[in-house]
């Protein structure tokens, strides 16, 4: 029997992928809703001096622990009589910074490691990936706590410890994306044409893995905000009296029995910020058509 084939044309019509702009016009709800809330949070953080009705660090003991809904202090006051709304607004700054900056740092370092591992020789790759496996072996927040506890409290130290923790997962995603690309023909073609590997990395790899990594990192910001606030909650983040949401949560927790609503204010602020980045990440995943799994 001959392997006769009358497949005269490629199966199915090659449908053109619509451009990102066209797809953005289709309004993926995740991008609009998530992006909208993120934008709002950034604006609040930037405009804190204008928006905050009171000082975030000074309060009157006579006005301590007013409940949510008090006239003049709509979100109440904390144990030192400080206006919670004002602390929430000012606290957006360190909270967002401690969420975004570690992801940015780990994003750059992790992507770099992932590309080197993905393009490098077997020895290089297994060297990098096995080292990262070690970091991966730790429960993430515990490793951050150990590093943070050694370095001491402070926003900068929280950022350092979270960055270290986040490098391994990002590098893994980057490496698997690069390996996926390596299987594609055009990489072979580029190598055959004599391009050096930095050229290949810059021209072929980075543009192709950028969407998946952007999606993954956006969702990681949500996680980093939760972790950063967690470190502050444990006393490893922002140093008092400066406000940040995790620290506020720890302060107000002490008064949970008499003023339960107060502690929920920062708890929900952290939740909103985290879900906003996760929704945005989901929306970007649809927008960039990133396959599920790589950024799970």
């Amino acid at each position: 029997m001959s392997a006769t084939t009358v497949d005269l044309a490629h199966a199915g019509a090659a449908t053109r992928r619509p451009s990102y702009l066209t797809r953005l016009r289709a309004r993926p709800p995740g991008v609009l809703v998530g992006g909208g809330i993120v934008l709002l949070l950034v604006l609040i953080a930037l405009l804190a001096p204008v928006l905050a009705p009171y000082s975030a660090t000074d309060g009157a003991i006579s006005q301590r622990l007013w409940n949510v809904g008090t006239i003049g202090h709509s979100l109440g006051t904390d144990g030192q009589g400080r206006d919670i709304l004002s602390r929430l607004i000012w606290g957006a700054r360190p909270t967002l910074v401690a969420g975004v900056v570690p992801v940015a740092i780990a994003g750059i370092l992790g992507t770099l490691l992932g590309i080197v591992a993905g393009l490098g020789r077997t020895g290089v790759r297994s060297g990098i990936m096995r080292t990262l496996d070690v970091l991966y072996a730790f429960p993430a927040i515990l490793l951050a706590i150990a590093i943070g506890a050694a370095l001491g409290p402070g926003v900068n130290n929280a950022i350092i410890s979270l960055s270290i923790v986040l490098i391994a997962p990002i590098a893994r995603v980057a490496e698997s994306e690069v390996l996926r690309l390596r299987a594609a023909d055009f990489m072979e073609a580029a190598r055959a044409s004599g391009a050096s590997w930095p050229t290949i990395a810059l021209r072929q790899v980075v543009p192709n893995i950028a969407p998946a990594l952007l999606v993954y990192c956006t969702s990681l910001v949500g996680l980093a905000i939760v972790y950063a606030a967690g470190l502050s909650f444990l006393g490893l983040g922002v140093v008092p009296p400066h406000p940040d949401w995790g620290g506020m949560l720890n302060d107000l927790r002490a008064n949970l029995y008499d003023r339960p609503l107060l502690a929920l204010v920062p708890a929900f602020a952290i939740f909103i910020a985290s879900i906003a980045f996760n929704v945005l990440g989901d929306g970007l995943k649809q927008l960039f058509d990133v396959h599920e799994g790589s950024a799970a």
């Binding site: 001959s2 005269l8 019509a13």
Partner: protein, 357 residues
């Protein structure tokens, strides 16, 4: 075959077929398959008629995307609610398009067997082969007893040419070759002695040498079990090897039907002729092959109901072809073709002549 005595017919089959029914087992009339997609409706099959006879093979021939696989799967209603079926599919006297889901599911694998295209993907990768055959035997009440069903399963494997059946029954699909897996898929398809066997490109994924063995197995099984066989392929060689009748499909419609020898030797439709010209033959340089220019309309393209779908690619087409869709007319005894322009046998230079030209 071993265990034949223990094989009982399913209740559904008792309703629809008498055991001695040797004539038209399955009749398809005006079958339409429409998929609902976000961009609108896609008509993959636009009115197809044919019938299957016990002990005979009908080959559904055409390029990828012409609707032949969709037709085959629609007979078994495998698309569920994602597709709308029009027209009629009758198994004996029973209308399948309106049959309740439970009875339909009892018919699948019992009265109508199916051999899928890709043998590597047709078996559960995590279950041993034996368990998967036994599962089907028990599901269709062929043999409810596990150990006895295993004996039947071993017999089925022997029947499809697997001689170390005990080892294969214990094997997992990944441990077996593609040809072996396809034999197993065939064994499962005939496990309940179906009256109709549908094979969707059953040899496409196999090595050339294995292809011939598997096709030979099909013809033997069909003869021995007196099944009606519907075989879907894009391969003219396969068609000639196994087919009794052939139905050539293009853009969701039949463009030519008739006895295999007649249609392939004296095609009445330019599309059939084009398929034949694109087939390499021994001794003919590949450069002499003439491909049909262009490609079939894609699933997202509109095909006018009142035009010949081939017209844009057809050397014989005239202005009339874009305004009028020719019906199937008899061009020779038993041979129908849907082309007004040719109206008989397509005049062709043989490939040899073309090579010398």
């Amino acid at each position: 075959m071993p265990g034949r005595d223990t094989i009982r017919r399913t209740r559904a089959e008792d309703i629809t077929l008498r055991a001695d029914d040797t004539r038209q087992v399955l009749t398809v009339e005006g079958l339409e398959v429409t998929f609902k997609r976000r961009q609108g409706e896609i008509k993959a099959v636009r009115g197809v008629d044919f019938s299957l006879t016990a002990g005979r093979t009908l080959v559904l021939l055409g390029e990828s995307g012409c609707g032949k696989s969709v037709t085959a799967r629609a007979i078994l209603r495998l698309y569920g609610r994602s597709a709308r079926l029009g027209g009629s599919v009758r198994l004996g006297e029973t209308e399948l398009t309106t049959l309740d889901d439970t009875t339909m599911s009892q018919l699948r694998g019992a009265t109508i067997g199916m051999v899928p295209q890709d043998p590597s993907g047709s078996l559960d990768p995590l279950r041993a082969v034996g368990a998967q055959i036994v599962e089907v035997l028990r599901r269709h009440d062929v043999e409810p007893d596990g150990p006895k069903a295993r004996v039947i399963a071993a017999g089925l494997l022997e029947r499809v040419g697997i001689h170390d059946s005990q080892r294969v029954l214990r094997s997992f699909p990944f441990e077996l070759s593609g040809g072996m897996r396809q034999r197993i898929a065939i064994a499962i398809a005939i496990a309940c002695r179906p009256r109709v066997l549908i094979a969707d490109e059953p040899t496409t994924a196999l090595d050339v040498t294995v292809q011939a063995q598997v096709l030979k197995l099909f013809t033997e099984l069909q003869r021995d079990l007196n099944m009606a066989l519907l075989l879907v392929t894009h391969d003219v060689g396969v068609t000639r090897f196994v087919g009794d009748e052939v139905a050539v499909m293009y853009a969701g419609r039949l463009v030519e039907t008739g006895p295999v020898g007649q249609v392939l030797d004296r095609p009445g439709h330019p599309y059939t002729a084009g398929l034949l010209d694109a087939m390499p033959l021994p001794g003919i340089p590949r450069g002499a092959l003439r491909a049909i220019p262009g490609r079939p309309p894609g699933s997202d393209e509109h095909v006018a109901d009142d035009a010949c779908a081939l017209a844009p690619r057809c050397a014989f087409a005239n202005a009339e072809c874009s305004h009028h869709r020719p019906p199937l007319i008899e061009v020779a005894p038993g041979q129908l073709a849907a082309c007004d322009v040719v109206g008989g046998v397509v005049p062709r230079s043989t490939p040899l002549e073309a090579a010398h030209a």
